[in-house]
């Protein structure tokens, strides 16, 4: 091997060695850097091939999108029979909400984004004005959905169902559980023995039992604990249980945030002569909430997914609507299509939430850049 020698002076940059840049270089580095790595790549490609081949065929190419029944579907093609969805798409979205009144749900849903925008995106223009709307929104939504005021037809809760029910349960649970969760977290860190014990008992109880048993209590036993004759809708009872359940988890997340605050912060606050509520308002919460945002969003996603459990107590969420559709003799046996459709809905909304959480995390992560 001959050694190249260079005399002092300026030389043009040499091209990088072949196989380290460009498409080829990227492939070599990321897919075939070693024997085991190449093996892994080959396995993955084979896996992907079969997966995509099967999925595209079944999902789209051989699928039937409109037919009168499962048998009619099978006569046309042997892929997925999406007719069970397309024929009942109204039910999947609105449940049994009267068709003529569905515009009310559409408006409520669309304005929900306007109401949430100032809360979710801190630097939106005209944020202050929008915030007023956010405060006013719950009343607006309630009136619009339930009706009974301003000449709107009153709609019974038992007609609620489908994705609309999921969103109602999810949003109500999320909005109510955050304040309760904060209170519980503060209670658990409190110096007062009684308050601390109470908070710990509540949190551990809620976290210790399966949600399904709590929902069962809500549906069949909550009335025993209220004065005789009291009766309020199962929807409210379920929302209360969801709130308690996820508040307990949020409390634990926030407690983690509180504990992560350096002790010096409190000492400095004490030195300034702040009282408990001032400390909480200006020192503890702003820092603790910031740290715990990813955890809180994860809890929300969990709560949102858990809304499917209401099907067990007979509410008609998308899963319940799907099961009712499967009970129809025409659509018997199309469980895969139905469940996949519902799964897709949950995937889209939960994935969006987790992306938002990542975005927010990066935005708030000011000190580590």
């Amino acid at each position: 091997m001959s050694e190249k020698t260079y005399k002092p002076g300026n030389y043009p940059d040499l091209p990088p060695p072949p196989g380290t840049v460009g498409v080829y270089g990227w492939i070599r580095q990321n897919l075939f850097s070693s024997i085991s790595n190449s093996l892994l790549t080959i396995i993955s490609v084979v896996l992907l091939y079969y997966l995509i081949d099967g999925i595209i065929g079944w999902f789209f190419l051989d699928a039937v999108f409109d037919a009168d029944s499962k048998i009619a579907c099978r006569k046309i093609d042997d892929g997925a029979c999406w007719a069970v969805i397309t024929r009942r798409v109204g039910q999947f979205v609105y449940g049994f909400y009267p068709e003529a009144e569905r515009w009310r749900i559409d408006i409520t849903f669309l304005t929900m984004f306007i109401a949430f925008a100032p809360l979710l995106y801190p630097d939106i223009p005209k944020r202050k004005w929008l915030l007023y709307f956010s405060v006013f929104y719950p009343f607006f939504a309630f009136v619009l959905i339930m009706g009974g005021y301003f000449g709107l037809q009153k709609i019974e809760y038992s007609l609620f169902g489908g994705f609309m029910l999921t969103v109602i349960l999810g949003v109500c649970g999320i909005v109510c559980s955050l304040p309760l969760g904060i209170l519980l977290a503060l209670g658990r860190q409190s110096n007062l023995t009684v308050v601390r014990t109470l908070s710990v008992c509540f949190i551990e109880f809620m976290r210790g039992v399966p949600l399904i048993t709590l929902l069962f209590v809500a549906s069949s036993m909550l009335n025993y604990f209220l004065p005789p004759g009291t009766n309020f809708s199962i929807l409210v009872r379920v929302i209360i249980m969801f709130t308690f359940f996820s508040a307990a988890y949020i409390a634990e997340v926030i407690r983690g945030g509180i504990q992560a605050i350096p002790k010096g912060q409190y000492e400095a606050a004490d030195a300034l002569g702040m009282n408990y509520w001032q400390k909480t308002r200006f020192i503890t919460l702003p820092q603790a909430l910031k740290i715990s945002i990813p955890g809180i969003v994860n809890t929300f996603i969990g709560l949102y997914k858990d809304t499917t459990l209401v099907v067990v107590i007979g509410l008609l969420d998308p899963l319940g609507i799907g099961r009712a559709a499967l009970a129809d003799t025409k659509w018997n046996g199309l469980s895969t299509e139905t469940y996949l459709f519902v799964a897709l809905f949950f995937f889209v909304s939960c994935f969006a939430m987790s992306r938002y959480s990542l975005w927010l995390e990066n935005k708030l992560n000011t000190d580590k850049k």
Partner: protein, 337 residues
């Protein structure tokens, strides 16, 4: 001592319920709607169509009660319940009426504190198998997987029947008829057992009903009827007499077609007059119903026969035990006097 206290408690409870809880009828009237608990889906008895409207034999009864109490058969909120959740839902006040092919038994009537107000369908537990299995009798089911609805009397009957005949089986518990249908079709179980009416309903919904058969053995008595909460006699009476009015309609030949006409004229049969509000019916005001209650029921929902033929004939269910006594069936109603 304990029984005595329990007794005292029950008595006090009844008095308590009578005085403090507003009457069920007032609740329904104030709400303007009847809350009715029905099956999650059983063809012929209660199932939603593509538009989301519930129809069926049990649904008709809810509509009849709404027609009698509110004057409009459409003023019903339906709440669905599985075999397991129905009694807790009724007890929790999610509905005033449970119309979900529920078997009348001693312990349900007495121990679970609810009131059965009559029988609207006489049934018995049967077994359905695919013909391809070649089974001719329930005794030949040794080792089979049996789909069965949990929380029902069928579950207990099955255990007793198989234990009595020394047959081993593998129970596959399910919650709703829809699930059973799915599992049976998929071959997860060899046999589906439930009330014979339910079996026919399920069988008729199959692509090839002739590939399946219901075995000859009927292993139990299943008198199915509507249920109300214990403690409000007025409400129980209303529901009971709505059922009887529907049957009286059949007995007297009053149908949804001719009811208006019969109500307008003076009939020879004074019982028709009393039922349709032409002649006074002693004590009707105690029920809190208007004189045209039965007219509303029959004109908006139909009589027992109409409801039966509309919903159950398509399932090839025959009248059999469910005919009126004069046709050789079991339905024998008290006179409307």
């Amino acid at each position: 001592m304990k029984t005595k206290m329990l007794l005292a408690g029950v008595t006090a409870g009844v008095m308590f319920a009578g005085s403090v809880l507003a009457s069920t009828l007032d609740d329904v009237r104030a709400r303007g709607k009847l809350n009715c608990i029905i099956n999650t889906g059983l063809a012929g008895f209660a199932a939603p169509d593509d538009k989301g409207n519930w129809t069926g034999f049990d649904v008709d009864f809810c509509r009849a009660v709404a027609a009698a109490t509110l004057g409009d058969a459409d003023k019903v909120n339906y709440t669905t319940a599985t075999g397991k959740t129905r009694f807790t839902k009724l007890a929790a006040g999610e509905g005033e009426l449970l119309s979900r092919n529920t078997t009348w038994t001693f312990s349900r009537d007495v121990d679970l504190s609810q009131t059965f107000i009559g029988v609207n369908y006489y049934d018995g537990q049967g077994f359905m198998v695919p013909k391809a299995l070649g089974v001719k009798s329930a005794k030949g089911l040794d080792g089979a997987s049996v789909c069965i609805q949990t929380g029902t009397t069928t579950e207990l009957n099955l255990a007793e029947f198989f234990a009595g005949n020394n047959i081993k089986y593998n129970p596959v518990p399910i919650e709703t008829n829809a699930e059973a249908q799915e599992l049976y079709k998929a071959g997860r179980c060899d046999v589906y057992t439930t009330d014979a009416s339910g079996l026919y309903a399920t069988m008729m919904s199959f692509d090839n009903p002739s590939d399946h058969m219901v075995l000859p053995e009927i292993v139990s008595k299943e008198p199915l009827g509507p249920v109300v909460r214990h403690g409000d006699d007025q409400w129980a009476d209303i529901v009971a007499w709505v059922l009887r009015a529907m049957m009286a309609g059949e007995e007297k030949g009053i149908t949804s077609k001719n009811v208006k006409e019969l109500a307008a004229k003076d009939n020879k049969d004074k019982e028709i007059n009393r039922l349709l509000g032409k002649d006074p019916l002693q004590g009707l005001s105690k029920l809190g119903l208007s004189p045209d209650w039965a007219v509303n029921v029959i004109s908006q929902v139909g009589n027992y026969q109409e409801s039966f033929e509309k919903h159950l004939f398509p399932l090839t269910i025959k009248r059999g035990m469910n005919a009126l006594y004069r046709d050789g069936g079991l339905h024998y109603i008290p006179p409307i006097k």
